[in-house]
């Protein structure tokens, strides 16, 4: 069984061979988890909801997810993006089922009460956490039963809180938790580069402990994928792969370790 995370920026730019490639491996059970941050920003702004971004003390820029934003986030992620992927898979003979993390409580998360940001004076400040969360539990039995019936689940990164709020959760870590909790053999993060690059050189192999040690030195964006990869391995996944989704047959190529980053225990 394999969990594939499709990065938001590549949903529109997947290599034309990707879907046929997913079909090749779908017999062994594929779960897709997607992102789509850029599309959420575009549609929010088209709806007149200017997106506010905040900066963490370590310099990570993130969306501030207020009540209106989380509603738009849910609409775009679980509507337009999720259904576009499902349609794309259906069109190519893969019987996909689109789900959000809300459905069947697939993704249960704890809402962040506070966030630490850097304010306009350059000082650290605690602000209301808005509607973001950290995943606590995954309804693995529901995902497995969908797989058992021959469907390919496509999951959007919208989680449900204990108070039944919609929560914006990170897609990479959502994929990691899904992979870990369903006991997937592998997790594959498809992105727009060949894998983890250090000093412009592709890192081909890493152990779990090497990956954890390297985390503070990795640039933002890729850092979250490596972190998610380490989390999935700690939850029992055998192998985490970070690979380019814009090249020919990206799935089978990554599974054969061709020009990508492979992280194992």
């Amino acid at each position: 069984m394999i969990t594939i995370k499709i990065g938001g920026s590549i949903v529109d730019n997947l290599h034309p061979t990707t879907i046929a490639d997913i079909k090749k491996v779908s017999q062994q059970g594929v779960i897709l988890v997607h992102g789509g941050a850029k599309q959420v920003t575009q549609i929010s702004e088209a709806l007149g909801k200017k997106q506010k971004f905040i900066v963490s003390p370590s310099g990570i820029k993130s969306r501030f997810t207020d009540q209106e934003t989380v509603e738009i986030f849910t609409m775009v992620m679980s509507g337009k993006i999720n259904k576009t992927i499902v349609r794309m898979l259906q069109k190519n003979g893969i019987n996909a089922v689109g789900l959000s993390g809300i459905d069947g409580q697939i993704l249960q998360a704890d809402r962040k009460k506070k966030l630490i940001v850097v304010n306009e004076k350059g000082r650290k400040m605690a602000i209301d956490g808005g509607y973001t969360g950290k995943i606590r539990e995954v309804n693995a039995s529901l995902i497995k039963s969908i797989l058992d019936q021959g469907y390919t689940p496509v999951i959007s990164p919208v989680a449900i809180s204990e108070e039944y709020d919609f929560l914006n959760v990170d897609g990479d870590r959502a994929a990691a938790y899904v992979a870990g909790k369903v006991k997937a053999d592998r997790i594959l993060f498809l992105t727009n580069v060949d894998g983890l690059l250090m000093d412009n050189k592709l890192v081909k192999n890493l152990s779990l402990s090497e990956a954890k040690e390297m985390l503070p030195k990795i640039g933002h964006g890729m850092e979250k994928k490596v972190l998610a990869a380490t989390e999935s391995l700690e939850m029992g996944v055998n192998e985490a792969l970070i690979a380019n989704g814009q090249k020919e047959n990206p799935i089978s190529s990554a599974l054969s370790h061709d020009n990508c980053t492979v992280i194992t225990k």
């Binding site: 990164p157 959760v169 990170d170």
Partner: protein, 55 residues
Amino acid sequence: MNCPECDGKLNIPDDAAVGEIISCPDCGSDYEISKKDGSNIELKLAEKVGEDWGE
């Protein structure tokens, strides 16, 4: 004002606002300004929050 943890001196800027985080230069403890009324400032231990802020 001194650090409730180690008694080190906390440097709180005059224009600090409620919500700002003050770190103790000696022990590194982080405090959030919970109330400010003129020069009277109340602190509470800042919550530790990770950086998983969603998409």
